[in-house]
């Protein structure tokens, strides 16, 4: 298990290979469907005018994402009424839904690592080589275990998206992940898809 601190340098990113287990420590942001759509439309493609406190939020999250991590996660959070937030359950959500956005979001903010589950497609793999960055697979459903690695909730933005869809700023210690897409064009997801396809073809051919 490699221990890596956030923010992450390009050299460290390039040293990672598919299959490496990693323990992450530092500050990261959660962001899923609504956040990616909002980032792309408001700040990257600029098809939507910034509204309310959008610009303020942008200025706040930009330095945190520079060299940083975005985590595809919709957590269960306690302390919503008192705003003494605590992550109760915080496993990854399916990443492929962000495939249309992820590469551009990584490039725009210089994001070094995307955490989620299920892997992503060619556009994100391309961005991993260019930015450079990696895709880090968390254990889907291991929500209580992962919540324990969240030391503190430092803040939250876009609560109007709802608890699962908001941007949570969290400080983590030894957050466990596996590199499944690296900065050298390798994807464990592609490898497993290819090998399972040939076995499927054989199983479909017999009766």
């Amino acid at each position: 298990m490699k221990a890596i601190d956030i923010p992450i340098s390009d050299d460290i990113i390039r040293s990672l290979r598919v299959g490496d287990p990693v323990a992450l420590s530092g500050v990261m942001l959660t962001g899923r469907d609504a956040v990616h759509k909002w980032m792309i439309e408001t700040f990257i493609h600029r098809t939507r005018e910034p509204q309310d406190d959008d610009q303020e939020i942008y200025r706040a999250i930009k330095p945190l994402l520079d060299g940083g991590i975005i985590y595809h996660c919709g957590p269960v959070v306690s302390g919503l009424e008192t705003e003494e937030y605590q992550f109760v359950a915080a496993g990854p959500t399916t990443s492929i839904r962000e495939e249309p956005y992820q590469g551009d979001v990584m490039a725009h903010f210089n994001i070094k690592g995307v955490i989620g589950k299920g892997g992503m497609g060619p556009k994100t793999l391309q961005a991993c080589q260019e930015v450079p960055g990696v895709y880090l697979h968390a254990i889907g459903g291991a929500a209580s275990l992962i919540a324990k690695s969240v030391q503190r909730v430092l803040g939250v933005y876009k609560m109007d998206f709802g608890v699962p869809e908001a941007i949570w700023v969290i400080e983590v210690k030894d957050f466990p992940v596996v590199v499944t897409m690296d900065a050298h064009g390798n994807s464990l997801h592609q490898e497993v898809t290819d090998s399972s396809k040939s076995i499927l073809d054989r199983l479909l051919a017999v009766s």
Binding site: A34, K117, G141, A143, E165, H189, L200
Partner: protein, 291 residues
């Protein structure tokens, strides 16, 4: 006089969300032993098992996607389903306030979250059926979104997969569904398969069959054989836990048949993630038990 079961329903929800059924946990332990020592697959299963223990001890959700709550209520003659529905809804809202459930119900168009897991008449999903006798039985399944998204329905024949209108055709489309899902449904998964019905009843059937225990055997010998074969062949594909590659892709398969029109032959596959959260509550007089 019908009792107020709100508290008991709350306990049913808490138990389902935070404590994996013993038959599922046992299968996961067995799977962890079978994977290559030190592999990513074994690491994933060990993390899953550790997570299950922590969730149970701390009474926290096993998975943060606490899913669609799907209730099946089997009630004796004379019970008011209006009252039962209200009590279930109150329990679900309270379970959300206590963070056993994540606020999960969002408006279809605006995406606005109701904040308490109550939506329209289909959310939570509650099915009522009157039964003989004087025992009230309530089954609850929490069905996560990631695995729900990889479910699939096929209309046979399917020429692309060479699947005809027979059990062999069912096998072929089910294997395709497992392949398409890869690790995205949080493998190792459990397959619920319904053959027949209309498009709607077929999908319901494929979920209802998942209330069976993992280690039971289908009473239909032909379906029992196919359940075993599909589990083995799915595992042969080597997709593995989380899609990391490995020996355990599917923990079990459950198949049911529904009467269909001569013109239609649907096969519906519901993919259940490893976090197979289902619990049963039984009320007999003043006695309430959970399993």
């Amino acid at each position: 006089m019908q009792p107020d079961l709100t508290k008991q329903f709350l306990e049913l929800v808490r138990l389902a969300a935070t404590d994996l059924p013993p038959d599922v946990e046992a299968k996961l332990r067995q799977a962890a032993k079978q994977e290559e020592p030190g592999s990513a697959a074994q690491g994933a299963l060990e993390a899953i098992l550790k997570n299950v223990e922590m969730a149970r001890e701390d009474s926290t959700p096993i998975c943060q996607d606490t899913g669609t709550p799907i209730f099946y209520v089997f009630y004796p003659e004379g019970w008011s389903t209006i009252k039962l529905r209200k009590q279930i809804e109150n329990a679900v809202a309270e379970a959300t306030a206590r963070a056993y459930l994540r606020p999960n119900a969002v408006n279809a168009l605006t995406g606005k979250n109701t904040g308490n897991n109550l939506g329209d008449k289909h959310y939570p999903s509650i099915h009522f059926e009157e039964v003989e006798g004087d025992t009230l039985m309530v089954d609850l399944m929490l069905k996560g979104g990631g695995c729900e998204n990889v479910g699939a329905q096929y209309a046979l024949p399917n020429s692309k997969l060479g699947a005809g209108r027979d059990l062999e055709g069912v096998r072929k489309v089910a294997l395709d569904a497992v392949f398409q899902a890869q690790g995205k449904g949080c493998a190792p998964g459990i397959l619920g398969i319904a053959i027949g019905g209309d498009r709607g009843s077929s999908y319901y059937g494929s979920k209802e069959v998942l209330f069976r225990k993992l280690d039971d055997t289908n009473q239909d010998a032909e379906l029992a054989d196919m359940e075993e074969r599909l589990t083995n062949e799915s595992n042969e594909m080597g997709i593995g836990p989380m899609g990391f590659g490995g020996k355990t892709t599917v923990l079990g398969t459950k198949i049911t048949g529904l009467h269909r029109l001569p013109a239609s032959y649907f096969v519906s596959v519901t993919y259940m993630c490893w976090a197979y959260r289902r619990r049963r509550m039984t009320v007999q007089g003043s006695e309430v038990s959970y399993e």
